[in-house]
């Protein structure tokens, strides 16, 4: 407490509480909290790999040897080879490339629990020396896969190309803000045109260097981008913004499938359609339905293109539930039957992939 002269009196006056010492301690507390957030997020929630520019493989890709940590839906550490390829156990053998979105990249599970890695090990166990290249990437769509073809063919010379798809792989190819390099322009005739959006590599590097900034970017994405998708699709989206049937026509789907076939002329093409979550109707009695008309429609359209094979391991998922009471999607920190595949779901997909590759590579 200080004093001041007012008139003839000395009057006690409260010292200013917001003095230099206060602000110094305020700054230190703030710094400590920010550091705590950053460390906590990097240890438990999300950590990005180091990135490098690799134009032929999609601009900014994880550097060889770096790792990514993902902990908000499941918990997994993903490590990388060159060109943003997710590491698998082996690097020799008959070349098979697996392309797809976050289901294939599968950051929710560790490297050795991803279906590509399990399948590669499974093939080795059967005596088949096959090198599966996991080039899955979140939100990778058909038009991206077509764009990447020249670099993939030059680098890997694949005998087989497995393309993991859902409806959003096709519908988001129509949206220039969601694809990196090509956008589908509707006809006649439909064609893929170069996307004029360019990635801001500098900003991506800055954001990716910090767990906290990455989380903030993810939240803005959820709030603004996924909400926009919700509105576009009239709420016909799941919690990860995957759009449903209504946004892409049959003609567009067939055109995109044909584009993939044309882009990889020397390879066997197979489309992997991961079965949709079974419908569990709330109520007092057991009521679970595995049949999805949407999946059936998509499979029908893809199959209509000559020279394309289909992988759809629905029976494996059903067996997993009926025999073991396990649902193929969901994690302990999310919800059963929703979101990405858990390790059991990956095992089912891997088994189907092994059987398929053993058959066609004989």
């Amino acid at each position: 407490m200080g004093t001041r002269v007012i008139g003839d009196s000395l009057v006690p006056v409260e010292k200013n509480k917001f003095n230099r010492a206060y602000w110094l301690r305020f700054f230190l507390c703030s710094l400590l909290l920010l550091v705590t957030f950053e460390v906590g997020i990097r240890l438990f929630v999300v950590r990005n790999p180091r990135f490098e520019a690799d134009a032929g493989f999609g601009g900014l890709v994880p550097r060889a040897g770096s790792t990514r940590l993902f902990g908000t839906e499941g918990f997994g550490v993903t490590s990388y080879f060159e060109h943003g390829e997710i590491a698998t156990p082996y690097r020799d053998g008959v070349s098979v490339v697996v392309l797809g979105d976050s289901m294939t990249a599968a950051h929710q599970v560790p490297n050795d629990e991803k279906f590509v890695s399990i399948a590669e090990q499974g093939l080795r166990d059967e005596g088949a020396v096959v090198d599966l290249h996991n080039l899955g990437r979140p939100l990778q769509v058909i038009s991206d896969i077509v764009y990447l073809a020249p670099s993939i063919i030059e680098t890997y010379s694949p005998k087989v190309v497995i393309v993991q798809v859902s409806y959003s792989s096709f519908s988001l190819s129509l949206d220039s803000s969601m694809t990196n390099y090509y956008t589908l322009k509707d006809g006649p005739p439909p064609k893929l045109v170069h996307n004029s959006n360019s990635e801001n590599l500098q900003m991506e590097n800055i954001i990716s260097s910090s767990g906290l900034l990455t989380m903030l970017q993810n939240r803005f994405y959820q709030i603004f981008v996924l909400s926009r998708l919700d509105r576009l699709a009239g709420r016909e989206v799941d919690q990860f913004g995957r759009t449903r049937r209504g946004l892409v026509s049959d003609k567009q789907i067939v055109f995109l499938v044909r584009s993939v076939v044309s882009a990889y002329p020397d390879a066997r093409i197979a489309f992997l359609v991961i079965p949709s979550s079974p419908e569990i109707r709330p109520g007092e009695n057991s009521n679970i339905s595995w049949n999805s008309t949407e999946d059936a429609e998509l499979i029908g359209l893809i199959s209509s293109v000559e020279g394309v094979e289909i992988l759809h391991p629905l029976s494996g998922f059903q067996k997993l539930y009926e025999e073991q009471g396990i649902l193929p999607r969901g994690f302990s920190d999310s919800a059963p039957n929703k979101g990405h595949l858990n390790k059991f779901g990956h095992q089912v997909i891997a088994k189907a992939l092994v059987e398929f590759l053993l058959r066609i590579l004989k």
Partner: protein, 465 residues
């Protein structure tokens, strides 16, 4: 329009700006009333008239009681007011419940009672109870009538707590209204802190727990017994955080405007007895039931058996207040039974003092009782409740095993954190904001909310009442 919507924040900021520009108290009251009406109209403008009817009837009844010298006249006016409030509440909330209940009996006589498509006005349970408490307090001369219809209208319609409480008492609020809206740094800071606390409780904790609760109560047959146990315990915590979170937000907004609302929750899961639980849970409702139902019935003044009866009736009606369904009545009845049995079998008043050896177990026991009775509260039907209980009893233990660890983590934090806060007498609401860590911690709280709030936000649970 709820506290998390853009429209609400536009409304609140408009009120704050207007009250900085317009200083006369009477004009500020008009602004508050207009804002409250707009807030309510966004829910459903059709029921503004109902709010107006309740307000006008009670105000003029209170004026009439003040002016009447005849006790019979005062009693008549009181009866008119209470009857009108209960009639409105009874019609909108309970008509279909009673007709469905009595339909099975009436059908024997070949009569079928009609079921009407009646919409439940938002907040009706809260503002009718406030109006009843007002007229009863005026009748018993515990409070003076409101100085004007404007004052009373603002009391009834005060938007921060209009749709889900806390249930205010006129004696606490009307004197505060005389100074109008007071925007002071202390109030704004404390209000922001309370609001942030409520937001954290609601959209981080409660909405995360909703993920398992909705799944388990939607399809209990799908999940294992252990998963159902986790879901049942999670619901008890979810409803606490949802409702206390809303209350904190309401208190925070009121505080920003310069008004103090009553605290509605005080670490209820640290309670060591059923009686103490109801002194800490939904305090504004439990004190209302005590003052306007339990005490008029005789309280504990008319012998042991009458006390047990009064407790059970009070809690039965308290359950019915929550919803027009036998589930809620059963929930209330079970709590009444517990209170009665506790009174019957404990010689002295249960101690609230903390004893390391026994208090943890008592608190855990109370929590488990609350969680189990909440099965009736949450289940959409008695059949579903039965299925949940069969899982809890391990009669049908098979199913998908889902250890939703965020729920387990939050249960642990709530239980241990609450007990520690009680032991150490920590009250976040009185934290000294001159400490240099106060604002960084407040900012960190909001950052945590932004980063970790779930995307799938569920509506506030108590809006349905």
């Amino acid at each position: 329009m709820n506290f998390l919507s853009t429209q609400f924040w536009v409304l609140l900021i408009s009120v704050l700006i207007l009250t900085r520009l317009i200083r006369p108290v009477i004009h500020q009251k008009l602004i508050l009333l207009a804002a409250s009406c707009l807030f309510y109209a966004f829910w459903d403008w059709r029921f503004l008239g109902l709010l107006a009817v309740v307000t006008v009837v009670d105000y003029y009844v209170s004026v009439g009681m003040q002016g009447a010298h005849n006790e019979k006249t005062r009693k008549t006016l009181l009866a008119v007011s209470i009857a009108s409030s209960l009639a409105i509440l009874g019609f909108f909330k309970y008509f279909n419940f009673f007709t469905a209940t009595f339909d099975s009996a009436a059908s024997v006589l070949g009569v079928h009672l009609p079921e009407l498509g009646i919409l439940l006005p938002v907040g009706i349970s809260f503002y009718t109870f406030e109006s009843i408490s007002y007229v009863m307090d005026v009748y018993h001369r515990k409070t003076e009538p409101a100085q004007s219809l404007l004052d009373y209208s603002v009391f009834i319609a005060f938007f921060p707590r209009l749709v889900a409480g806390p249930i205010m008492r006129a004696a606490n609020f009307l004197p505060q209204l005389q100074h109008g809206i007071r925007l002071e740094p202390t109030g704004i800071i404390r209000g922001a802190q309370l609001f942030g606390q409520g937001l954290l409780k609601k959209i981080v904790v409660a909405d995360t727990l909703a993920l398992i609760v909705d799944q388990v109560y939607g399809s209990p047959w799908l999940y294992s017994s252990a998963t159902v146990w986790l879901g049942v315990c999670s619901f008890a915590v979810q409803i606490y955080f949802d409702f206390s979170g809303y209350s904190d937000m309401a208190l925070g907004i009121a505080r920003i405007l310069g008004f103090e609302l009553p605290v509605n929750f005080n670490l209820p899961f640290t309670s060591q007895s059923f009686a103490e639980f109801w002194q800490r849970w939904h305090i504004s409702l439990s004190t209302w039931l005590r003052d306007y139902l339990y005490f008029p019935l005789g309280g504990n003044q008319k012998g042991a058996w009458r006390t047990y009866f009064n407790l059970i009736v009070t809690m039965l009606l308290g359950g019915l207040w929550h919803g027009a369904s036998w589930n809620f009545v059963l929930w209330g009845g079970l709590h009444g039974l517990a209170l009665g049995l506790e009174r019957a079998f404990t010689q002295d008043r249960p101690s609230k003092e903390w004893r390391i050896s026994t208090s943890w177990f008592k608190a855990l026991g109370i929590f488990l009782w609350v969680a189990l009775t909440c099965v009736f509260f949450r289940s959409p039907s008695m059949e579903m409740a039965g299925q949940v209980f069969s899982k809890l009893a391990f009669i049908d233990p098979g199913g998908v095993v889902w250890f939703f660890y965020p729920a387990a983590l939050y249960l642990l934090i709530v239980f241990i954190g609450g007990l520690l806060m009680r032991l150490k007498k920590i009250d976040l609401a009185t934290m000294d904001y001159y400490q240099p860590y106060f604002f960084p911690v407040l900012a960190a709280e909001y950052l945590f909310i932004f980063l970790f709030a779930t995307r799938n936000n569920s509506p506030f649970l108590y809006f349905q009442f």
